[in-house]
Each structure stands twice: as structure tokens, then as C-alpha cells.
């Protein structure tokens, strides 16, 4: 397969700033295995830094925020495909998944394969539904309450009786030492992200993540487990070390089996002093560190595309324990013309024009 016959790919989530999005790392992983691939970046904002990585995206297009609804998004996708007829779409942001799931049929009708889980599975792993899922999979979760107002968040904090995490439905997690602080955080999150608010007991311990790839039948096609070594103020892993823990893998396999998940997902756990794993979150997409295992020979983005397209996938290799990643920020340089083109025309087309 050469660069003219290889399917054109599109990826969302190009920001690599303080809260890095996974799209750039997904594209980097795909190019690692398929250097001939052409990838379009789909950006919500002209300031997503990955847009300006000229060695990654052949073209970049702006797309409307998911809140605009299905029709406007579909029209924009049609416009984009008139310039870059991609046939594989990899959404990487939590907040856009429901919209793309509701567009799955329309996208499939256009010949676009989309990497998405089943709608029921997406709902089952919501923060507000985690206790139910965890019970079904016999996995421990911290004591969790669902609040629909700042007042309720304060009440639940008082019931838990210690410091709590106050979390938004998609993003944001803030520590609250008292019911009053819990209500302040809840008000802020409700204003920004909407509800419900999750009020969760804090488990003291070490954070572990497992990036897994499900085949849709309950089987794990590949995985990489890490212990977070550096955590940012927003709870993002800025450094991690690969680990091999049979218990962690077994817990994640139980959850994946219960969900019958198709595609990538990231399990987040706290391991307490007794070695018990508590499920904190399940992110329904690749994490921002997905290119780390790819650099060690376990390319889960590649395997996900192969699975999506029904291609034969190579067995994913076992990553050795003790490999470390450290997030490293660089300053992207771009010309104002590119920035203006994206802002005014909604597109930057770089190296793909000869293929149209």
C-alpha cells in the first residue's frame, strides 16, 4: 500500500498545552508505523498547538463545537471531505463522543469508519455510573455520590466526612477539604461543564493507569500499564513508568468484558497501601501518552485502526516494566498566515494537494 492508496485519516484533539489532548499523539503513533499515511487534524480552536506541527498533519480543518448539533457538524464534515476525503475518523475528546456516536450511521453511509464505542458502553463508564459498573465487574470504587447542585455537593462532602474530590461530568477534578469548598468547586464546574457533579471519597495511594484496546466482544487486544510519577495540578500524568501487575490487568479485563468495549480506553486507579486497586475513572478514548507505548513497539493506535478496518493485526508485544516517559514541552512556531488561514478560511492544506 502506498501513500495514494492508504486510507486518509482524520483525528481530533490537537492541543498539547497544559491539558494535553490525545490527537497529536495518536497521529504521531500512526505515522510511526505508516509514514506514508496522510492525516488531517480537526481542530475546534486555531490555538490548538498540534495544528502547527508541520511534520504531522497534511491538512488541518476547524470544526464546530459539539454543542452545535449533528446537522451542522455533518455539513462541515462534508465540506472538509471535498478537500480531504478521509475515510477513517478518530475522535479523541470525551465531550465529542456522544455527537459522533449519534452520527455513526450518517458517517458510515459516507464511507467513513469511526472509532467509537457502543452508546450503552459509553454511558456505563460515565463517572456517575461507575459504582454500578464496578459492582458488576467486582471492582472497588471510592465512596461516590452524584450531586445536581452545589448545595447537594456540600451535603455529600459532609456525609463522606473527609476531604473529597469534586468532579465534572467530562473534565475537571478539584480537591475540597470542607463542604463549603466542595460547594464552591461544584458551582464553578456546573457553570463551565454542566452536571451532574461527582463527589468522591479520596483514597490515599499511588495512581496507576492502564491503556487498553477492546475488540467489542469483551476481549483486550493490547494494553500498557503505568504508574504515574509526576501529576500536574490538573491531575494529568506528566511522567510515568511502565509496570507489570497481574491484578491490575485482571481488574481491567473484568471491566472491559463487562463493557464489551470497542476501541481505546484508559482506566485510572488508585492503589492503596494494602495494594487494593480503586477505580477512579474510565476515559473513553486514547490518553495523551498513547505514543509512549508506541515508541516501545506496542502501537495501540495502529492496532485500533487495523481493528476498525478489519485488517489483520499483529500480536501486540509485551512492553517491559521500567520504561519511563517524561512529558516535555516545546514552543511551536507558526507563521501568522497559517494562523489567519485557519481562522478565516477554516483550513490549512499542506502536503496533501498533490493527491486530490
Amino acid at each position: 500500500m502506498n501513500d495514494k492508496t492508504f486510507p486518509l485519516l482524520a483525528v481530533t484533539g490537537l492541543g498539547r498545552g497544559e491539558n494535553p489532548q490525545p490527537g497529536f499523539a495518536v497521529a504521531a503513533s500512526l505515522l510511526r508505523n505508516w509514514p506514508m499515511a496522510h492525516i488531517a487534524g480537526l481542530a475546534y480552536d486555531a490555538l490548538e498547538s498540534g495544528i502547527y506541527a508541520t511534520d504531522c498533519f497534511d491538512a488541518v480543518f476547524t470544526i464546530p463545537y459539539p454543542s452545535v448539533g449533528t446537522q451542522i457538524m455533518l455539513e462541515r464534515i462534508d465540506e472538509i471531505r471535498s478537500k480531504f476525503p478521509f475515510t477513517v475518523l478518530i475522535p479523541t475528546l470525551d465531550a465529542e463522543l456522544e455527537l459522533f456516536i449519534s452520527l455513526r450511521k450518517e458517517l458510515n453511509d459516507r464511507g467513513i469508519q469511526v472509532m467509537l464505542p457502543d452508546s450503552d458502553a459509553l454511558k456505563a463508564r460515565r463517572k456517575s455510573n461507575l459504582p454500578t459498573l464496578a459492582a458488576a465487574a467486582k471492582v472497588k470504587v471510592p465512596c461516590t455520590y452524584i450531586a445536581n447542585s452545589a448545595y447537594e455537593a456540600a451535603e455529600y462532602c459532609a456525609i463522606i466526612g473527609s476531604a473529597v474530590m469534586v468532579k465534572g461530568p467530562f473534565y475537571e477534578a478539584r480537591r475540597a477539604e470542607s463542604p463549603f469548598i466542595a460547594s464552591v468547586h461544584a458551582s464553578r464546574i456546573l457553570a463551565e461543564w454542566g452536571g451532574p457533579i461527582i463527589v468522591q471519597e479520596i483514597i490515599t495511594g499511588t495512581e496507576f493507569d492502564l491503556l487498553g484496546l477492546g475488540d467489542g466482544t469483551g476481549r483486550m487486544l493490547g494494553s500498557c500499564s503505568i504508574r504515574k510519577m509526576v501529576v500536574s495540578s490538573q491531575g494529568k500524568g506528566y511522567a510515568g513508568i511502565t509496570v507489570h501487575d497481574k491484578n491490575l490487568l485482571s481488574v481491567c479485563e473484568s471491566l472491559l468484558k463487562e463493557l464489551k468495549w470497542k476501541g481505546p480506553l484508559e482506566f485510572e486507579f488508585i492503589r492503596d497501601k494494602d495494594g487494593e486497586f480503586y477505580l477512579i475513572e474510565i476515559n473513553p478514548r486514547f490518553p495523551a501518552w498513547v505514543d509512549f507505548p508506541a515508541q516501545l513497539g506496542c502501537n495501540l493506535a495502529q492496532a485500533a485502526v487495523e481493528n476498525l478496518l478489519g485488517w489483520e493485526s499483529k500480536m501486540l508485544c509485551d512492553i517491559p516494566a521500567g520504561k519511563i516517559f517524561l512529558r516535555h514541552s516545546v514552543d511551536m512556531i507558526c507563521d501568522v498566515e497559517e494562523f489567519a488561514a485557519l481562522t478565516a478560511e477554516g483550513s490549512i492544506v499542506r502536503t496533501y494537494t498533490d493527491l486530490v
Binding site: T206, M229, I241, T242, H244, L248, A321, G322
Partner: protein, 84 residues
Amino acid sequence: MNRQLISNFAVSPNGLGFRSDTGEVYRLNPSACEILRLISDGKDDVYISQYLSEKYAQLLPRMRNDLSSFFEHLENLRLITPHE
């Protein structure tokens, strides 16, 4: 008494201990390395204390006492387990 290192714990020749299930890394001084190597070779407490007492010219009771504290520390870290 015999002890054994947990299966997930490895010690490199340059004094780095790594626990592969938790990702925890330990920097070991030469005597700690030596003790862990002796445990790994299946030597019991009596042998280890006698060996170190001769090697470092320390009285045997004191060496036993120091070793006992060190084993307790390793057990608290869950890096060794008793092996009868």
C-alpha cells in the same frame, strides 16, 4: 530462617532495585545489595549474619540485630517474604 525476594523485585548489579508491579525504584548501598543477593541465593539468616560479621569484622550479636532491623524494613516494604 529463610527468606525470599518477591518475584516482582529485581536488583541490578549497580545497586538499583526495581519492583515491576508497582514501578517503585530503590537505590541500594553495597551492603544492602549484598544482603539481597544472599537472600536471592537462598542463604538463611544464620549464614548471612555469620558471613557479614566475618566480612565486616563486627560482633555476631550486633550483626544479627542490625540484620533483623533491615529484614523488618524489607518486610514492611513487602519486598521479602518468609520462606520456610
